[in-house]
């Protein structure tokens, strides 16, 4: 599941990816004509809207692709870098960039592209942008207020507008297609041409538009991966009498005492119940959070065994089914509830004089296990505090 860096590919390897992505980026920019300053500036005088066409098509393509990947379940959208919103710096910085664009005739990426094929004006622009960066660094105290004010965090535009992602993508794609049509009219007017598209082109463009909306419709109608898994688990629960492998409390206590480092104990209940009592070393993963990416590593530790409990047979079954779909680890269910476990080990009463030998043995075993568990818990307090998921944040941006 993407993004592949840093959990699947190392950061060093990502530099190789950077080079490859850059080659693709540069090749397409140059092919599109972005190495030509006149073509770029044409956008602002109406004689050439190539920039808008390329830019919008690329944005819409990538946006639809991201949504599709997210819905299929091969890309975790929550891990993607979202540029943070700083209102004033975005507006003022953008306005300054716009003036730079109209005076210099490039933007940073396109100027590098132009310089690469020998355009001296491109090279001059690259040199200038270096100066600009330096000016910002040296004059930072002056820009600081604008730079940091109105920090709104990593907001998504669709959420601000109260729209779903798919609906926003629909609207943006529609705007793009209308813009393509209108800019074509403007181009014809400004250049005093009456270029008519050949029929084959019209068919091609229309099918591309239809295809884009079709993909968006599929995304809108397709349930995402997590709800597909949920549904699968619910169906399995209804149609088959699935019985998870059960482990008695004594066995689990023995595992904790001797193999605590080889097992995960997973509490499927809600956080409130978890807080009021939980088994030693238990991790709280409420059953409806089980599909979250952060637990993937826990559910999929090949050399560890997972023990679940939920105090509710349905929840427990569902949890174990889901865990089975999500990972490859061995999963067991604790027989009995967590309060049974607590009673058994931590509210122990000594057997009376008439107790059988078995009962006395059990008492001694449980007493010792309880003590060992307490000792272990104290000794490992720092290393086994409830696992706080470390989702490494992806850094990005310009």
């Amino acid at each position: 599941m993407g993004p592949l860096v840093p959990s699947i590919l190392s950061n060093e390897f990502s530099l190789v990816i950077a080079l490859i992505a850059g080659i693709g980026f540069g090749f397409v920019l140059e092919q599109a004509g972005f190495s030509s300053t006149k073509k770029l500036v044409g956008l602002f005088y109406g004689y050439d809207f190539t920039v808008l066409k390329v830019f919008f098509t690329a944005g819409v393509t990538a946006m639809i692709g991201v949504l599709l990947f997210g819905q299929i379940g091969i890309l975790d959208l929550s891990m993607i870098y979202i540029n943070p919103t700083f209102l004033w710096s975005a507006l003022v910085g953008g306005a300054i960039m716009g003036v730079g664009f109209i005076i210099g005739g490039f933007c940073p990426g396109t100027s590098v592209c132009a310089a690469a094929i020998g355009k001296l004006d491109g090279l001059a622009f690259v040199f200038g942008s270096g100066l600009g960066v330096l000016m910002f660094a040296e004059g930072y105290p002056m820009f600081k207020d604008i730079y940091l004010s109105e920090s709104w965090g990593a907001l998504l535009i669709n959420e601000q507008l109260g729209l779903s992602k798919v609906l926003f993508a629909f609207i943006l794609a529609a705007i793009a297609f209308v813009a393509f049509y209108l800019t074509r009219q403007i181009e014809n007017k400004v250049n005093r041409t009456t270029v008519q598209l050949p029929k084959s082109r019209i068919i091609l463009y229309s099918s591309a538009v239809v295809f884009a909306f079709l993909v968006l419709t599929v995304v809108a109608l397709m349930p995402d991966r997590n709800s597909r898994l949920e549904k699968k688990a619910l169906q399995a629960l209804q149609n088959t009498d699935f019985t998870p492998l059960q482990v008695p409390a004594d066995k689990l206590a023995g595992e904790i005492v001797s193999n605590y480092y080889k097992i995960n104990i997973i509490d499927l209940r809600n956080p409130v119940a978890f807080k009021s009592y939980h088994l030693p070393f238990a991790i709280n993963i409420p059953v409806d959070k089980l599909t979250d990416r952060q637990w993937r590593t826990i559910l999929d530790q090949k050399h560890k065994v997972n023990f679940f409990y939920a105090d509710d047979p349905q929840i427990a079954k569902k949890g174990i089914l889901l865990a089975g779909y999500l990972g490859k680890a061995e999963n067991y269910l604790l027989s009995g509830s967590s309060s049974d476990f607590k009673k058994l080990f931590f509210d122990l009463t000594a057997p009376g004089a008439d107790a059988s030998k078995q009962e006395v043995n059990n008492y001694h075993f449980r007493n010792k296990a309880a003590n060992d568990m307490k000792i272990l818990q104290d000794a490992l307090k720092n290393s086994t505090e409830p696992v706080v998921a470390k989702t490494s944040k992806i850094k990005g941006g310009c």
Binding site: T61, I96, I103, D121, G132, V133, A137, I157, C398
Partner: protein, 172 residues
């Protein structure tokens, strides 16, 4: 040999979109350009004048956040790739060669000065706006970032607003 025509803009846009999508899929973030300029410039300043960096808070904090220098920076590698890719494309389409493009009514000298000046504004603006047309606008649009889209509208809005005043640079 004449240089070949440019690619159909929609096809180019579609391909660029796939490059962007692939980059997001693999690395979790989009493309960029101005960040690489920043990395190279600031690291060069530090290498040439370490005392100056030590005395300038912005440079110092950048240096602390990027201890490995520009050669370990994702965007620097991406822009090296960009140079290679653009050059390859230029060769394929026979567009490589020392050239200077300018509006019909200005001298080469004016064009170079305008390019440096415009570049400086763009460089400054991209630092203030946390990204340029690629990093903020294009990549921001792909992930529906509000900030990225505001930056995009500001760039193009301001471009249109000021186009009239600088028409002598470009038009007859």
């Amino acid at each position: 040999m004449k240089s070949q025509k440019y690619m159909n803009p929609y096809l180019a846009g579609f391909l660029l979109g796939l490059v962007l999508l692939g980059t997001i899929y693999v690395t979790g973030r989009g493309l960029g350009a101005s960040g690489a300029v920043k990395s190279v410039i600031l690291s060069t300043v530090t290498a040439l004048a370490p005392e100056h960096t030590a005395g300038t808070p912005y440079l110092r904090s950048y240096e602390e956040e990027h201890p490995n220098g520009p050669l370990n920076d994702w965007l620097v590698f991406e822009v090296i790739g960009l140079i290679i890719g653009a050059f390859l494309s230029g060769i394929v389409s026979n567009r490589v060669g020392i050239k200077l493009e300018r509006g019909p009514n200005i001298t080469n000298r004016t064009r170079i000065i305008a390019a440096i000046f415009g570049g400086a504004l763009f460089g400054l603006g991209s630092q203030l706006g946390r990204g340029c047309t690629s990093g903020a606008a294009l990549s921001g649009m792909a992930v529906m970032s509000l900030g990225g889209i505001i930056t995009m509208m500001a760039i193009f809005g301001s471009g249109y607003a000021f186009a009239y005043f600088f028409r002598k640079l470009w038009l007859k």
